[in-house]
């Protein structure tokens, strides 16, 4: 399913509970959407770089299974943006449901 434009918000949501590396972020988004939101994982990192430039996430070096990994964690302003986007999404979803009806 095409979810153009919502990937940054989904990344922020995936990082809300704990820091994570790129591959795990991608798997979390796919699992939590029960496979409906399937995206090309090569585009995950440009989105992460953009979030980093906007200071919504920050990165640091970590190690997993003996391998160096770049981990990402959400910043305070990232949490603010996530809360705002979540509220807007709920509002829009409610409005669209009013028009189209419950599934």
């Amino acid at each position: 399913m095409n979810f153009r434009g919502t990937l940054p918000t989904l990344i922020l949501e995936a990082l809300e509970k704990e820091p994570s590396h790129g591959y795990r972020i991608a798997q979390r988004i796919k699992e939590r959407s029960q496979g409906v939101l399937d995206f090309k994982e090569g585009t995950l990192y440009p989105a992460l770089h953009k979030l980093q430039a906007e200071e919504l996430v920050e990165s640091y070096e970590g190690v997993e299974n003996g391998r160096p990994r770049r981990y990402y964690r959400i910043t305070k302003s990232g949490r603010g943006v996530l809360a705002k986007n979540r509220a807007e999404w709920r509002e829009m979803s409610r409005a669209v449901t009013l028009i189209l009806g419950e599934a």
Partner: protein, 197 residues
Amino acid sequence: MNTTTLATWLEEATRNLSKDSAAQVRTEIQEHYDAAREATLDEHAAVAILGDAKAANRQYRKVLLTTAEAALVGTPRWEQKLLQGGYLEIPLMIFIGGVFLAKELDLGMWLVAVAAGMCVFFWNPPKLPINTPSRGRAFRCAKWIVFVFVLAVGFRSGHRYPTTWIILPAIFLWREWRYASIRRKLPVPQWPKHLYL
């Protein structure tokens, strides 16, 4: 398929990216590939989940420095200072605009003197303490006001002078567009002095 496919994917995805940007992409994609392999995906599937390398390259070029942009970020050589550092076209435009206005409105040489003074101001910004984003924004705002003013004067008087002067605003616009792109991509602590201007 094997790791050659990953190498091909990386080659396409890093096309026209700067050396540092390309190295960063290679590292993160290699990590992603390794994680996918550890999660029991075979080599083909681990590359396939990355998707279209050209699409990834387009996305990367929006957020990471390209080769051309990296050259602009580097320490400017003297000719770059003249052509790209905002040290030539603005003073020239101000001077030409000042002369046009002085002749058009019969304002005498004092306006030319003011224009010369503004030339000095825009010629000397590297010596001014413009080293924070807010000061940089204020300076660029002043620069744009002067640019629009000079452009308006130039067009008003254009019928009396060769139209080739329009190449100066074109250089200015091209340079500003490139710098704006770099400012979006590069964290502020990594900005060289000329990026604030």
